[in-house]
Symmetry: C2
Subunit: 342 residues, 2 copies
């Protein structure tokens, strides 16, 4: 197998009998090229299977055609969805995706990310929650002068820099659903208090309940951390108390699974004696027995919106970037773990 040298813009220019400046023009879709010359050049490009060298292009235009994805993601559940979503939008436009896993709690997170983006000369950066909530990082991104979009549950940035999932509204819907099932003795297991999403979900839930005149007892709000183990711990606390709630809403599916585990241990029937719900609709939700009522975020769509937004920013279409939808609505998914109070 002989390795052919890739054709260059010079080859194209030579064979087409024009200057490379003109080839460059058609490459970048300049309007000021004669129709004839354009098609002629286009043909040569096709014949040679020529495709521009990204590095050279980047060197000359100080762009890399590289997008970065910064995530922490202890659960690692949406990662594939996000990556596919981003690439679905950017791949055809010639961009690739460089990933940067990191740790939310790391001391060096910001400088770490900065090194990443400057070293790779990224054209744009997408940041997933909860890292996206760090203002230090956001400021650093702004200072870097690069395009960026944050995914979050709160609108903590300008329209062109954010895509928010309305966790609050979704939680309110869960509250409504619980209330309509007749539940009044309801408990909530929170997420880490440092995360905006935790606050949103709790507030939304409270709000939704209050519409039905139901108030969350303070001792039925227990602080979790989104882990399965902590879910178990919190569930024990709730279910072993003298008075027991008839429904538990956990900040995520992991913890909800923990609740199911404890209920099972204690011989409490779900959903007959206890309704349980989570948030995320991750793989657990549908596989666990009984399957979990939960809330699903349109992850893929968020990735699509974020990427679209970002590419518009990169290509100096700020107006466009602002106009791409910045908010998506998660939806309630009812399964077996919740039922009417009997």
């Amino acid at each position: 197998m002989i390795k052919m040298k890739q054709a260059t813009i010079n080859d194209v220019a030579r064979i087409a009998g024009v200057s490379k400046r003109t080839v460059s023009r058609v490459l970048n879709g300049s309007l000021s090229v004669g129709e004839n010359t354009r098609t002629k050049i286009q043909n040569v490009i096709n014949d040679l299977k020529y495709s521009p060298n990204t590095q050279a292009r980047g060197l000359a235009s100080s762009r890399s055609y590289l997008l970065g994805l910064i995530y922490d993601n202890p659960d690692a559940l949406y990662l594939d969805d996000v990556q596919r979503g981003v690439l679905e939008v950017c791949s055809n436009l010639g961009y690739e995706l460089v990933v940067h896993p990191c740790r939310y709690k790391s001391e060096t997170l910001v400088q770490d990310c900065l090194r990443f983006i400057s070293r790779s000369k990224l054209d744009g950066i997408i940041v997933l929650p909860p890292v996206s909530e760090l203002e230090d990082l956001a400021q650093a991104l702004r200072d870097s002068g690069r395009a960026y979009v944050r995914l979050s549950s709160v609108a903590l940035d300008d329209a062109k820099h954010i895509v928010v999932s309305d966790d609050r509204a979704a939680s309110a819907e869960m509250a409504r659903y619980f209330a309509q099932l007749g539940h009044e003795h309801i408990a909530f297991i929170t997420g880490p208090q440092a995360y905006k999403s935790s606050i949103e979900r709790m507030e939304g839930f409270k709000l939704g309940l209050s519409a039905y005149g139901i108030k969350l007892r303070s001792d039925w709000i227990v602080e979790g951390n989104n882990s399965y183990e902590k879910g178990i711990e919190c569930a024990r606390q709730l279910l072993l108390a003298s008075e027991r709630p008839t429904a538990i809403y956990a900040n995520n599916d992991q913890m909800a699974a923990g609740v199911l585990k404890v209920a099972h241990e204690l011989g409490i029937q779900v959903p007959q004696q206890l309704s349980v719900a989570g948030f995320d609709d991750n793989m657990l939700a549908s596989r666990v027995i009984p399957s979990l009522t939960t809330i699903r975020r349109p992850v893929r769509q968020m990735a699509l919106l974020a990427t679209t937004k970002m590419i518009m920013s990169i290509e100096n279409n700020d107006k466009g970037a602002e106009n791409v939808a910045a908010k998506v609505a998660p939806t309630l998914v009812v399964r077996e773990s919740t039922a009417k109070l009997t």
Copy 2:
């Protein structure tokens, strides 16, 4: 915030009072540089916080410092592990990771991947199973002249191009474990027959059982496809038959979860009346009730080995690449879903 232009090699050279050729030398760790000049230059580099421009460097040396990750990954479970593993090794060496999700079944898979690697000028490519098993792709990678490493359950390439997880041995261990629990009426739900891993796991299981004089009845080998739904379907077939196995080993955890679901529906107690085991040790395994006995692959370690191997190849240390371990051993994880036959 004023955006300073990044310092270039010229700045360093000028300030250090040497030619840029010399700076280049210290950058690339050439030995033929005087100790004085070296430290002098190094100081300037530190002062200026200079770091070489990857694009320019790539353009000149035809390297990109980019590694690619090709995966299909319907389960998306190890993705984060793999990505972190790869970066753990390559990040300090100046490489970044570009991801390329794809579809095993896609007609255009190979050309698609080729476009990816040539467009990004990747220095090396890591391919995850089952895509890694496609010989077409492998051949294309070889032809491309680039470094690559495949992860698989079979040694289908030279030592320097592969890291294999010994699924066969692991399955044999599972067989041994089953046999020691006293099971003889054992069923196996296979994975897609097109995947090597499916074959390895089945063969290993048969082999392990035969050591105990147990033979898998052909009607107790049912063909699954690694999905939860199919697991349910296969479990029904097995558990509704006139004669029922006392143990079921599924090719992965998803299907094993399906078995648990059906057992639950049919009122069959696991593990008292039926032992169930899976493969992967994904999140489901530990969260499901009862938790699943399964097999865990050292995913992170595989990623580390593969990356180490690949970087050695890239840097022309073929001998080294061959000598990095090419095989890892998955381990049996015993949980609640299996028990002694009573």
